[in-house]
Point group: C2
Chain length 357, copies 2
């Protein structure tokens, strides 16, 4: 299949991935890491996966602190396609900036946003979903790819799928976005069916996105368009942009206004948010080793061992254990407590050990 004409992939590369500490660090965030041991970082895998669709029409938006590392990891991407944010303005800033630039650059553009640090196993299904979403988006919809919910997760927001969209088999009106639910509510969503996980994969014409933003926050949309019109004012304007997620800024009000469509897709998606998720992605053996297996000496053990410092890591008699060895920190925890690693990182920061964070 040929690439999609005028389709632009937008990859926001932000977020540290704190729950993957000590692998992920503020200076070497999750999207720069090879978390599958295949030799490609999550960012590289994201770009690789989209390449058949975008034919090189790609914008990466990342913090200026990480732009050099992103450039180094993506030598095939022209440097002016890798945008640096002087400060963090959450997903609306990053994706809105790309929208404003693309609106001027390509009047027929349809953009799709894809986080740089999520895993997707089924690229064929991704391609199918994106092609369909682009078709729908050309008609003026804000289209979200709704992840097939496979468990009653309380970690993600949900999209409620409405009536089918005429002329676009497999696409539906999105009735509403709902915030991360309680366990009971998540269970009822799964039982009821028709709810999809929201992974902020939005496919939309740049002008439509900015107009939807303008309906709620006219100054924000105007500022983004002004940056695109007057690049020399970038730093000045950027500094005053609000910090807000695109879900809140645009998707929720637009869904309420009947402007959002959803394309459900079973992508084998995983946000690799913590070591438990990472183990799901790695799958396979009872004991996953991310790194050189010769550096691991395990007996009667399951879980994840990451030998990352050159030392031998010996683990004996522990199930669902997580051991991560790096040159300046070692983490030992369990799959069940993987979410709480963030709290350890907070404690390091409080203890003044920022250089480990």
């Amino acid at each position: 299949m040929p690439a999609i004409e005028h389709f632009w992939a937008v990859v926001p590369a932000g977020g540290t991935g704190t729950r993957l500490w000590p692998l992920s660090r503020s200076g070497r965030p999750k999207f720069l890491l090879d978390l599958t041991g295949q030799g490609r970082s999550m960012l590289q895998e994201t770009v690789d996966r989209l390449a058949p669709l975008d034919d090189g029409r790609l914008l990466v938006v990342t913090g200026t602190a990480h732009r050099e590392q992103v450039l180094a990891q993506l030598p095939e991407v022209p440097p002016d396609r890798i945008l640096g944010e002087p400060s963090r303005r959450e997903s609306m800033g990053a994706i809105g900036l790309a929208a404003a630039l693309l609106e001027r650059r390509d009047p027929e553009a349809v953009m799709g946003s894809f986080a740089a640090d999520h895993a997707i196993r089924d690229t064929d299904e991704l391609e199918r979903a994106v092609r369909l979403a682009v078709d729908v988006a050309r008609e003026g919809w804000l289209v979200t790819i709704g992840i097939e919910a496979t468990a009653p997760s309380t970690a993600y927001g949900y999209i409620r799928q409405g009536s089918p969209l005429e002329g676009h088999e497999g696409a539906y009106v999105a009735e509403k976005f709902v915030e991360k639910p309680s366990a009971e509510v998540a269970q009822s969503y799964l039982a009821e069916g028709g709810f999809r996980w929201n992974a902020s994969m939005f496919v939309v014409r740049p002008g439509v996105l900015l107009d939807l933003l303008a309906a709620e926050r006219p100054a924000f949309a105007a500022d983004l368009r002004e940056i695109a019109a007057s690049p020399d004012r970038f730093d000045e304007i950027w500094a005053r942009l609000p910090r807000i997620a695109i879900d809140h800024a645009v998707a929720e009000p637009a869904a309420a206004a009947g402007r959002v469509a959803v394309v459900p897709a079973d992508l084998g998606w995983n946000d690799v948010g913590d070591f438990d998720s990472l183990l799901s992605v790695l799958g396979g053996d009872a004991l996953s080793v991310l790194g050189d297996p010769d550096q691991v000496l395990a007996g009667d053990t399951s879980g994840l061992v990451v030998p990352g410092s050159g030392r031998v890591v010996a683990v004996l008699g522990l199930d669902d254990i997580v051991v991560v060895d790096t040159s300046d920190a070692v983490l030992v925890t369990t799959r069940a407590r993987a979410q709480e690693v963030k709290g350890l990182v907070d404690r390091l920061t409080e203890a003044g050990l920022e250089d480990l964070v």
Copy 2:
């Protein structure tokens, strides 16, 4: 109380302490380690503990490979009191060598052997037991200090206590030595009472010990006496000595012959054989840190953490865990599996990683 006249402490300093890997190594065995965080090695603590009794009359017997380290740890001991074994000949060789030297040096000597890598909490009780044992030994007995058995351990041999020894309140005839028993047998010993753990603490006149050995193994005893008489033949004779524990070579047959006495003592003794034992010795908090507590970040965790490489060790949500971090190896296991660490070390050796052992 003054020191005991003509009493010589003999400290065999051998054994790697394999189950304490990666803290203990063949090149830095357990007796050279500070395992309590008090700034003294087990060897130093052993020597310190005996000093009020021996008034400097001390012989340490260690492998030639470790002699320099022993000298460095015991600057107060004259170098000729630290004997080097060219090869390992087990406890009969080490203690027998000391006996042969002392027999020539001090006709009134009574010696007591004390392993360099055991912990004893109650030094007052040790002093009481040794003083009593020396009194008994002067009369020609081989006296063993029988450790008050506090659990049905299958890790130690036992001494069966017989009738009281007239004129020496607190001393008894030792009926027999029994090998490490099964769990059921150990339980019956504990229920029955009158069984003590054998920790190879022997108090005896050197000539008596050698004569007892000579009764079973005349060549062995003659060789040891020949070494003492002709020090220049040491290497030649040493090479042909058998490898046998003093328990088998002397204590068991001597007990059968009615020549052994036992002084029961509740020393707070622990052989610190593995990380589980070490935790018992460290006692105290649910989570013991051996090293700098500032290098440990723990949450909802009990057990032992040894930060030994300068790295931060973070442990979250694990009970009875053992985490040992060193500059070239990390161990993660549980108290319950602590005995099996030896198997890991065997695997390292088999894998050709002797430099880690």
